[in-house]
Amino acid sequence: MSDHEYTPNSKFGKWFNDRLPLLTLASHLTDYPTPKNLNYWWTFGGILTFCLITQIVTGLVLAMHYIAHADMAFDSVEHIMRDVNYGWLIRYIHANGASMFFLAVYIHIFRSLFYGSYKSPREVIWIIGIIIYLLMMAAAFLGYVLPWGQMSFWGATVITNLFSAIPLVGEGIVTWLWGGYSVDNPTLTRFFTLHYLIPFLILGLVVLHIWALHVPGNNNPIGIDIKKPSKDTVPFHPYIVIKDGFALLMFMIVFAFFVFYTPNILGHADNYIEANPLVTPAHIVPEWYLLPFYAILRSVPDKLLGVVAMLSAILILAALPWLDTSKIRSAVFRPLYRQFYWILVADVLILGYVGAMPAEGLYLLIARVATAYYFLHFLVVLPILGYKERTLPVPLSITEPVLGGSPNLALAKNKEKFEN
């Protein structure tokens, strides 16, 4: 929080601000002291906000033309693609936007993992982030059902059937979710409603996410606490705004390339075949961003345990601030953690890859090993590492290693000394 009090210049501004301090909020946001050493991995927060707004705006337009009915949904999507002015553009932005959203969120999450942004005092920001991520997955899954293609239908069937693994009430829950005895029109209409609702829940949580961020302020690449405002910080505007803007534009170039030149490469061809309950596709695969969890689900032979494993794989992230026992935030000063970090990245990529392959033979074996390692990383490696790892000396402040000739002079063993 910025320290100085804000008073509007104009009389009306003052009158209004006394009643609703919007101008104080705006002033806080522009002056918000930000660590000046943030690298480009920190620009994905802004990029994600852009993604969310893009999805909401394009989704709104699509909803004006889309018909949520089992007999008409597929036709209405083709109507959008052919007859609605620039409908193809809006739909391709929305469809590829989902992938771009997940690409950005994965970079954002893995940035947090590398620089320890989830650690005290930022646990609440992190947990809100995990809830946003869960809602994003729900929204993406629900949205993928709406075009009512083969993958929509069978994806919906597979995922909703997971609930049947719950003992005793499972079957009843699935029937309740479907609104009938199979995925059909009632399922589609409720999925459409929920798909429309969730982005606004996400938007609300994003506000909380940013609010919670503005209490302790940003973490930074060397992961130390900094004084705010100080020589170590810059005001959010214009420094961070222009940098985020630059990164966003680079991101938009990639985005545009997908939309205009390979709009269907991230989707599945089967979704251009209208849903048919009598024909099962050869391989039912989710969208790429859900593949690692799909691999975990399938690597467990028991259905219920598979579902538990898949959910745990996501929920375990919420416990991360307490599973990671190291006091040092940034992996820059944690030589061992850095290695395990990259192994985890590789592990998740491998899970994603085997998730797209048939669950048999070597693929299944790899999926099982990778699943086991995933949990091992969080439940065993991280807690032990905090005690065993010999970390590198951490600098006192961001400016000191830069300004002082020898960084060693600026190093301090404990941070408390600095804070006093």
């Binding site: 553009l89 810059v234 222009i242 940098k243 630059f246 170039i253 545009a256 205009f260 709009p263 590789a346």
Partner: protein, 259 residues
């Protein structure tokens, strides 16, 4: 950094091997140059018109194209028949309309606003006429097949005698590009099957290419404007990115940190 490179290498190798093992199982599709590929890809107008002819004279007796209207034939970025030609094409089809004031259905010549007339009244009728197999609607067929135009182009030319020892049921044919090699559509194309108005030699290869081009347009009617807009959008973004980059450098030069 070294560790990162090591892991990166492992992943590359991993994907490399899996790529190779996949490639071994896959058939090589027949290759041809598609005018609509690439950043500036456009449809070959003449090929689209010939492709439409192949569709109408050959495919349309079994395959519907329910999302296309006759007006599309005259629209920009498509076969670009003249409006008069498109009207004539539409009028050559008989469309069931109604009910009229007497409550009766009646037939009339097609109009530009009509959808392509379907060969069968419904899916069941189509199946009954084709030994139980439904000839898929062709409107988005190219996008509904993983390998798209290459697959369809190859499939049309992929009919062969089955390998020794393979027995085929009645009404099932061997095609080396079909998934599973068994297809219920017999070989449709033969040299000189249609007579092209522009004098192009109607070889099997030519017809396969023309009709596949037509199907690509049918599935993606706004492909040309997409490519054009994409180029403009990306050029715009690149210029803006460069400008913002220099602005950023200027702003950050006020403090001593590197951006």
């Amino acid at each position: 950094m070294r560790n990162f490179l090591r892991i990166f290498l492992i992943i590359i190798l991993f994907f490399g091997f899996s790529g190779i093992s996949n490639a071994a199982e896959k058939v090589e599709y027949l290759k041809t140059d598609w005018s609509f590929k690439g950043l500036f890809g456009k449809f070959d107008r003449a090929a689209l018109q010939r492709g439409y002819q192949v569709y109408t004279e050959v495919c349309s007796s079994c395959h519907s194209m329910k999302y296309l209207s006759y007006r599309n034939l005259a629209e920009e970025g498509g076969p670009e028949f003249t409006v008069a030609q498109a009207k004539a094409i539409a009028a050559s089809f008989e469309v069931t309309d109604g009910p009229n004031d007497d409550g009766e259905m009646y037939t009339r010549p097609g109009k530009l606003s009509d959808k392509f007339v379907m060969p069968y009244d419904n899916v069941k009728a189509a199946q009954a006429a084709n030994g139980g197999a439904y000839p898929p609607d062709m409107s988005v067929l190219v996008k509904a097949r993983g390998d798209g135009v290459d697959y369809i182009y190859s499939l049309l030319q992929g009919y062969e005698d089955p390998p020794v020892g393979m027995s085929l049921d009645d009404g099932v044919y061997y095609n080396k590009y079909m998934y599973g090699n068994k297809i219920k559509m017999s070989n449709q194309l033969s040299d000189g099957l249609v007579e092209y108005g522009d004098g192009t030699n109607a070889s099997v290869e030519q017809m396969a290419k023309d009709v596949t081009t037509f199907l690509m347009w049918a599935a993606e009617p706004h492909l040309e404007s997409r490519h054009q807009m994409g180029f403009k959008a990306i050029v715009y973004l690149v210029i803006l990115t460069i400008l913002v980059y220099f602005s950023m450098k200027k702003i950050w030069s006020r403090i001593e940190t590197e951006v």
